[in-house]
Symmetry: C2
Subunit: 393 residues, 2 copies
Amino acid sequence: MRIDAIDVYYLRMPQVLDIGDGSQDATLVRVRAGAHLGWGQCEASPLASIAALVCPLSHSACKPVQDSVLGERVESPEDIIAIGDRVRANSLDLLQADHMLSGIDIALWDLLGRARECPVWRLLGYAQAYAKMPYASVLFGDTPQETLTKAKAARAQRFRAAKFGWGPFGRGLAGADRDQLMAAREGLGPDGLLLVDAGTVWAEDVAKAAERAQALKDSRATWLEEPFHTGALAEYASLAAIAAPVRLAGGEGSHNFHMARHLIDHAKVGFIQIDTGRIGGISPAKRVADYASARGVTYVNHTFTSHLSLSASLQPYAGIARDEICEYPVEAKPLSCDLTRERIERDAAGLVHLPDAPGLGMTPDPATIARYLVDVSIVVAGREIYRSPAVSG
Amino acid sequence: MRIDAIDVYYLRMPQVLDIGDGSQDATLVRVRAGAHLGWGQCEASPLASIAALVCPLSHSACKPVQDSVLGERVESPEDIIAIGDRVRANSLDLLQADHMLSGIDIALWDLLGRARECPVWRLLGYAQAYAKMPYASVLFGDTPQETLTKAKAARAQRFRAAKFGWGPFGRGLAGADRDQLMAAREGLGPDGLLLVDAGTVWAEDVAKAAERAQALKDSRATWLEEPFHTGALAEYASLAAIAAPVRLAGGEGSHNFHMARHLIDHAKVGFIQIDTGRIGGISPAKRVADYASARGVTYVNHTFTSHLSLSASLQPYAGIARDEICEYPVEAKPLSCDLTRERIERDAAGLVHLPDAPGLGMTPDPATIARYLVDVSIVVAGREIYRSPAVSG
């Protein structure tokens, strides 16, 4: 199989709001090799990623991503990994390349799995895909009362764990955050798992984060996620010591294997959270899962959007029984909810199971693509180098 | 002063070749605040950077760069730093944002310096701009003989130091690299400074790099630059021990302060090389210079293109007398050579001096911009969100 085409679809809701909800648009990728198709999704700015795909050559280490992918052979997992290596080398100085590559790598695994009629997790070497325990990903309410209601709703919906993030958290006084945390704990009940996402709100200010440490302990949070920018390794390590036994979680901003490794080696995170739609796809994500596993760090997916992304994000650690927590989007916009014909639904016990189906087991719905497709044209020196592709099945 | 406009010009040579020469195109930035102008340049893919500037909102942490800049006040260095912080927070999930920000940050320092009739290095707190000793940046020849000729030519042009990079180096057998290194040493003479740039050719393979260690020592190289990908911190540290007394250099791939700091803290580089056109501009570059200086690590600019970029790249460490080596482009394409009316020429002793002039002291030539301007149009959902700006003085 040789890669004949990479089609990137920019989808978005009729209205995109200035809120912390990444499911309002999508960068959907379809790769074609002969009669075979594969689908993937980048968690990234659609327009900037499209530009990374098609931009004119700048120099030998700043090539458009498509130049390292089109025409390449895909017969094995090693071929996919080699394509990623080519992209990273040829697009070393094209910063957006990692995000664009993510959707392509995912689509290639899907394509290979479909062609071989084999689930991706099996291609990755796992004999089994273990059930995962999803936590509800919800935004903090504007008030503690609203957060309490959300936490109770999560339990009522059979979620044993819930992650609260963004919203007002970390932006006001520490006392207000304590009220939010206690409301979440109350709503989840004593046996619920409370996960907290600070959304890098403290940038690199350890003192500000430390002001919340006691409330995190008192509310018995399992983890505190992204107190700082992904690069603030020393600050992470300082806070890890202060916040124990609450462990730090981070990694969603990693756009290559190395960044995730630095968080494990130098930031002392207890949970490494990887978005396959950003880190360069399933290939580097699997490498992180192996690396974390060998060091007693728990791997968790980061997913806030479609069930295509959800499936892709679960594959890299599907076979690691011990790492059972998973993120599961519950407030995604219709664009993201309706993107795939299949869905990964929770069972009676509230657990989820990766499909035992070829590839990722997810088929994008042409009607959804058509409904939300944004028409984009990029013309450089009189030549149209990108036009939104046609929708087809 | 309030920022009224950000104009980004995509310039390129009539022919862009697949070679390791970043001076074949340019992402030129002009910022306007009332009657005041400032100029900067990103070392980045022009189209991908333009997309990062103007792309539609995806969510609250994935905003187009311009949304965090337009309308902001610029009265002081602190204002410029605050604008960078805003961009990084609001465009957290827009990977290309750091590269686009770089040109804007540089242009803002230029604008503030012009408005105050003060050189940027003085705005940065330096009382004096020390002379720097440029090394010639040249590509390895295809043969040792060609490299010998290039090294002799560098000496003949009054360069005491020369950096050889890319080309065939590291791609073939270690013996061939030894011949290249010895040819360079012979051409430079016994008192020349030989700097070697591996251009990440060994990715993360310490053994392959180590095969060249003895030849680097025998040729008395001052530094070995970028043996690995910027993120391969542990591999850097391993090689640093093997290669001593040859010291490692790296950092040009850093797109924020943290990445440079990781190279200093964990990769054990002896030279930290910063491209102000990638790291987010002069603001984070100055922060790196301060951090390195406090730890005995030598700061060096990374510059391969125009004299606008050269001036911007020298400002962050202008006042550090001890860090005297600087990169100086000698093989840049006409687009880059002719971009500015002023140039930073070497004096009789072969040294360079930053202009004691307002801002960066560099004025782009409208004729050069007009000659190399690429016409770009980006249309999203029927609305043209970017069109190449008009050329004016």
